[in-house]
């Protein structure tokens, strides 16, 4: 739209956007980072050096990277078979499997963490089932509060991302490349190794880098499943800043973490760029039916895969829903009644209903902020013709490179004190949520904008439409579906956000995910499950909105 409207006011809007990001993001971030490299106002790199010399923090660093790497490998192992099925076969439930790939973005991680506790925990469903079946005196399964528990939860939470990206990469491979290889005498294994795999590499690398980045910065799952012994950098920053009030050390860790995640992000963007290079064939891929007469192998494979996904993915979530209706082994709606009716919960320092209200309010406000911001940056990326556009675009998407806890910390330190005194207010949380979600708005809206053929507007104008009418009647209707999808996305991200919120919230401004965490920490499993149940419901509605709108966009 840079071209759409005169010459002057895009510049004005541009200045406004930069000013907003400067005040809400760059300035606070600078405040935090300054704490990490200075001693009483002098640039000494003291806290940074202290952190890098301390074996304790180096161990945390090592643990963070190790668990992220293992989680990524497991997520790839779990996600790639699904991608193969999606890309090459047709079967009942194919569309559903494809839609599920947005789950990690929509479903709050805290509900997955709670689900893992209820499903795999010492007195969880799996252990109780095994004890009853095998007559064991003790719970046989001990996965929680260990590296393996964290890795398992991360892998399952993020495998759908792998499935989505790799399936897209797989579909992009021209099937005649493999046919050409066959006609040149290559057997199936050589075809896969020499043709398919290299062409798949960018999507494997992209999804791997993305999952690594996400698990490297994972907060709620590690917070809950890591117990007292395991902490990632993200959790450590939270502890340092909110519990120990050691700002310099926390800031130094933020600096280290940001630099590391920038590297991974760069890798992801490079690999994602490589995706576009894959040559699309003339012929679309014909997805073959999986269940053919001789297809028992395919059937077995699919069933085994579905069973694995169902047990390990749906099990924890179902546990949350089941336990939300159970108190002392009996079916009851008491937990939900308390959620609505309890005036004050000692575990939350406020009424449970307040958390629901806060979440919905924050979702609405932060979406209203993220949407125009994302739309502007997306259209700048697509249409802008400023020299150095790439660099400016990177600058405009910088919050992507900073962890959620760090965004919370920045706002806490930069805007929490005078003159704004935003610490603990809903406004500060809304700001954080908007900063964290608008890059996703950009990514959602951008393909829609890029798909607008400039010739359409030219055609409209040659038919007598003014530029304004062309925008209203041609461009806007075409991007409205992607705008609505982006809105649902931003809303879901805000409602599920835990990390930045944990940094900023106080009793009274806490949200649903925080309430789940507090109730879980107090081992109030019934109320925690009920709160998580409401959270899952909101996420599910967002999922339906995103999925439905996304499909309409494709359908026509």
């Amino acid at each position: 739209m840079g071209r759409a409207v005169g010459r002057r006011w895009p510049v004005l809007v541009f200045a406004l956007v930069l000013g907003f990001l400067g005040l809400a993001f760059y300035y606070p971030l600078a405040v935090v980072l300054r704490d990490g490299v200075s001693d009483g106002g002098r640039l000494t790199f003291g806290p940074l050096r202290a952190v890098l010399a301390d074996p304790y923090y180096l161990r945390i660093l090592g643990f963070t990277a190790t668990q992220a790497l293992l989680s990524t490998l497991l997520a790839l192992a779990l996600g790639v078979p699904g991608a193969y099925l999606l890309a090459r076969y047709d079967f009942p439930g194919r569309r559903l499997l494809r839609s599920l790939s947005i789950v990690p973005f929509v479903l709050p991680a805290i509900t997955v963490a709670l689900g893992f506790v209820l499903f795999f925990g010492q007195s969880g469903h799996v252990n109780r089932l095994l004890m009853n079946l095998l007559g064991l005196p003790r719970p046989p399964l001990r996965v929680l509060y260990s590296l393996s528990g964290i890795v398992l939860a991360h892998a399952f939470y993020n495998a759908p991302i792998v499935t989505r990206l790799v399936a897209a990469g797989w579909e992009g491979i021209d099937p005649s490349a493999e046919e050409a290889a066959a006609s040149l005498g290559a057997r199936p294994l050589r075809r896969f190794v020499s043709i398919t795999l290299p062409l798949l590499a960018p999507s494997l690398l992209a999804s791997g880098a993305l999952v690594f980045a996400l698990t490297f910065l994972s907060f709620p799952i590690v917070l809950v499943l890591g117990g007292a012994r395991f902490a990632t950098i993200e959790v450590e920053i939270y502890t340092l800043m909110r519990t120990l009030v050691d700002y310099p050390t926390g800031s130094a860790l933020i600096l280290v973490q940001t630099l590391l995640s920038l590297g991974v992000l760069y890798l992801f963007l490079r690999a994602e760029g490589g995706l576009a290079v894959v040559v699309r064939g003339e012929r679309g891929v014909r997805a073959r039916p999986l269940f053919t007469r001789e297809g028992w192998a395919g059937k077995t494979f699919l069933l085994a895969y579905v069973a694995l996904v169902a047990i390990l993915f749906c099990g924890p979530l179902l546990s949350v829903l089941v336990d939300s209706f159970r108190v002392d082994g009996r079916f009851t709606v008491a937990s939900y009644r308390d959620l609505l009716g309890l005036g004050y919960s000692p575990f939350l320092g406020a009424s449970p209903w307040r958390a629901v209200e806060n979440s919905l309010f924050l979702g609405a406000i932060s979406t209203a902020m993220a949407l125009p911001l994302g739309l502007f940056i997306a259209s700048f990326g697509v249409r802008g013709r400023t020299p150095g556009r790439k660099g400016l675009e990177a600058l405009l998407l910088a919050p992507l490179a900073v962890s959620s806890v760090a965004v919370g910390a920045a706002i806490l330190r930069g805007l929490g004190r005078e003159p704004l005194h935003l610490a603990g207010t809903l406004a500060s949380i809304a700001l954080a949520h908007a900063l964290l979600s608008y890059p996703f708005v950009v990514r959602t809206v951008r393909p829609g904008l890029a798909g607008l053929d400039p010739a359409w507007v030219e055609a409209a104008r040659s038919l007598g439409a003014s530029r304004g009418r062309a925008f209203r009647t041609i461009e806007l209707p075409l991007i409205v579906p992607s705008l609505l999808t982006a809105a649902a996305f931003a809303f879901a991200l805000s409602v599920g956000e835990t990390s930045a919120t944990a940094m900023l919230a106080r009793p009274g401004t806490e949200t649903m995910p925080l309430a789940v965490w507090r109730l879980l920490s107090a081992r109030q499993f019934g109320p925690a499950s009920a709160m998580a149940g409401v959270l899952i419901l909101v996420s599910f509605l967002s999922f339906l909105a995103i999925d439905g709108l996304g499909r309409r966009k494709k359908g026509g």
Partner: protein, 381 residues
């Protein structure tokens, strides 16, 4: 040099019957052009020969040996794809070398050099396909398919993505290379000009069947079905009725005129409906008072060396293809005579259009063998 034979090949995708009994022969060392409208089954036929899809019924043989039990990689058939399907992550050299893994390193390099030179790409062997022009990609695709010395070459609309002058150059090169190697080749195209000029044999395909197979000249000048008569070359179609049969000549009435057509093998009697086709270049514009009937010049389209003259005639609208220097004397609205040379008219009984002829009666033994082979394959997989 190998011969290719297809017998009663049938193929459906879901409920769509794409091939309805295809018979085809490619003599050793010859180039057969498979031509027809899009969706007629040309590409499917090619993919079945290459082994990318399996026929539901029928037999495909090379040198008398069935291919149906062989996987694509075992067939030794070169394939040039419409979109070229170059491996985007490999250089030109490695694309061409892909099918040569059983050669020693030195032999492989020599063979690649030889082919790169054959298609005129010397010096470009380090490039990737993204760094090549469309014409260069086409040449790489050809070199890659030829490198392993296939016994048969299949080309699927190899030139359709190129612009006209380049297409004509490359068409000549493909033909030259094919003849130099004496390689039995099937060349699929929807461009009939390309089909006629590049081939030894032409097969016209329509709705999953071969309508006619013969030399280019045969197919152009002696169409055997209404579809071939109407789709090959620029034809006028006339609907008429048989008036009387006089020895070798059948007199037909079309609109307000009587037109004599050769008897051929038509079994027609007075009163039968008849379909006539006459190519535009055979519609002779003569002086008024001569020829079969009088017509009026409605308009003309200028093509440089020739002009399409649109005529209003008692038989309906007619188009005539007239060399420009002869057309100069024609004025719009002018009355002229029109002659249709008897031997240039193709006549078909009405009703044949709906039922294209079945070429050969099915032979039980061939299809039984095919069925046995398929059953064996199914057990094997």
């Amino acid at each position: 040099m190998a011969t290719l034979r297809l017998r009663e090949v049938e193929k459906s995708f879901g409920t769509v019957r794409v091939l309805r009994g295809v018979d085809l022969d490619v003599p050793a060392g010859k180039l057969l052009a498979l031509v027809g409208p899009s969706g007629c089954g040309k590409t499917t036929t090619l993919r079945l020969i290459a082994g990318f899809d399996r026929p539901d019924r029928g037999e495909i043989e090379v040198d008398g040996q069935s291919l149906l039990g062989c996987r694509p990689e075992e067939r030794g058939i070169g394939f040039v794809f419409q979109g070229y399907a170059l491996f985007p992550h490999l250089s030109v050299f490695r694309n061409v070398a892909y099918g040569l893994r059983f050669l020693s390193r030195a032999e492989r390099e020599a063979r690649v050099r030889e082919l790169v030179a054959l298609v005129g790409l010397t010096g470009l062997d380090r490039r990737r396909s993204a760094e090549l022009s469309a014409g260069q990609r086409q040449r790489v695709a050809l070199a890659r398919a030829l490198a392993p010395r296939p016994r048969l070459l299949l080309l699927d609309e190899p030139l359709s993505a190129l612009d006209v002058p380049l297409r004509e150059t490359l068409r000549g090169e493909v033909r030259r290379i094919q003849q130099e190697l004496a390689l039995s080749t099937v060349y699929v195209t929807h461009d009939q000009g390309e089909a006629l000029s590049v081939s030894d044999r032409v097969a016209v395909m329509n709705e999953g069947r071969i309508e006619q197979e013969g030399s280019p000249r045969d197919v152009y000048e002696r169409p055997r079905t209404p579809f071939v008569a109407s789709s090959v070359g620029r034809s006028n179609r006339l609907d008429g009725q048989v008036v009387r049969v006089e020895g070798e000549t059948i007199w037909t009435r079309v609109g307000g005129a009587e037109i004599p057509v050769p008897d051929g093998q038509l079994e027609l009697a007075a009163g039968d409906g008849v379909l006539l086709f006459v190519k535009e270049e055979h519609v002779r514009v003569v002086a008024e008072g001569r020829g079969l009937f009088v017509a009026r010049v409605v308009s003309s389209d200028y093509h440089g060396d020739a002009v399409t003259v649109h005529l209003e005639a008692p038989v309906g609208r007619l188009r005539a293809w007239v060399p420009t220097k002869e057309a100069d004397r024609l004025r719009r609205g002018e009355r002229v005579g029109v002659d249709l040379p008897q031997e240039r008219i193709s006549a078909f009984p009405v009703g044949q259009e709906e039922n294209p002829p079945v070429h050969r009666p099915p032979s039980a033994s061939a299809s039984d063998a095919g069925r046995r082979r398929r059953a064996r394959r199914r057990r094997g997989s």
